[in-house]
Symmetry: C2
Subunit: 133 residues, 2 copies
């Protein structure tokens, strides 16, 4: 039996483009991995499959995270915020979340002396996107 999503959608405030920001956090470590956008279709697919699917604003299409790189996100829990305009996704991230090959997209820190890079890539972009299939 499919879960009725109307109560969820009613509780969410999608923006004028039908989108809502979604923060992906590694469930066990608490590491914030990335932020991307969802629409109703991508959220419904995520809940149906258990694999996180975003909406790509640049490509204007569903973005099944890891589809080309293999670095999928499995959904552990879905937590909307108090006013329903942001989603927190607790996930299990396979490999790396960032297209640069780093574990998280938030790998740079701004300080008095400019940017510091906090971590190296774990895998090259060529390996991530070039050698599959």
């Amino acid at each position: 039996m499919e879960t009725d999503l109307s109560a969820l959608f009613d509780a969410l405030a999608f923006d004028a483009d039908g989108l809502i920001p979604a923060i992906a956090q590694q469930a066990d470590t608490g590491e914030v991995l990335m932020m991307a956008w969802m629409n109703r279709d991508s959220l419904a697919e995520t809940l149906a499959t258990g694999h996180v699917c975003y909406w790509s604003r640049s490509r204007k299409s569903l973005w099944r995270k890891g589809e080309s790189s293999g670095q999928v996100q499995t959904l552990v829990a879905l937590r909307p915020d108090c006013d329903g305009d942001t989603l927190l996704l607790l996930v299990n991230q396979k490999g790396v979340a960032c297209h640069t090959g780093r574990r998280t997209c938030f790998y740079r820190e701004w300080g008095k002396d400019g940017f510091t890079v906090l971590m190296d890539p774990e895998i090259s972009e060529a390996e991530l996107y070039g050698k599959k299939g």
Copy 2:
């Protein structure tokens, strides 16, 4: 000497309204507390004072977090994401982040049986906003 913010601003992709989403995460525990928006002015003020200041889209004004409730956020680190269109703020949250009196705004979880509330308020909204000054 003031830090020149032009290198930071150049690395960020503010949206058409001059805004960028900012995720606040408790620095030591990794708890994701809230997501709000910043513009250049609120970000500059945050870096200058060390207290997190957002941009309120509803009030169209600077939103000095905790100004009315006392529940301030002290900035520990600022980490823009790979493409510069989201900020991760590591903070020390005094008291609670959520206007409902809960520690985090992400206090509800969606599951097969609908929403589950994960935590109770630590302080009432009346205490948060009514009794100050």
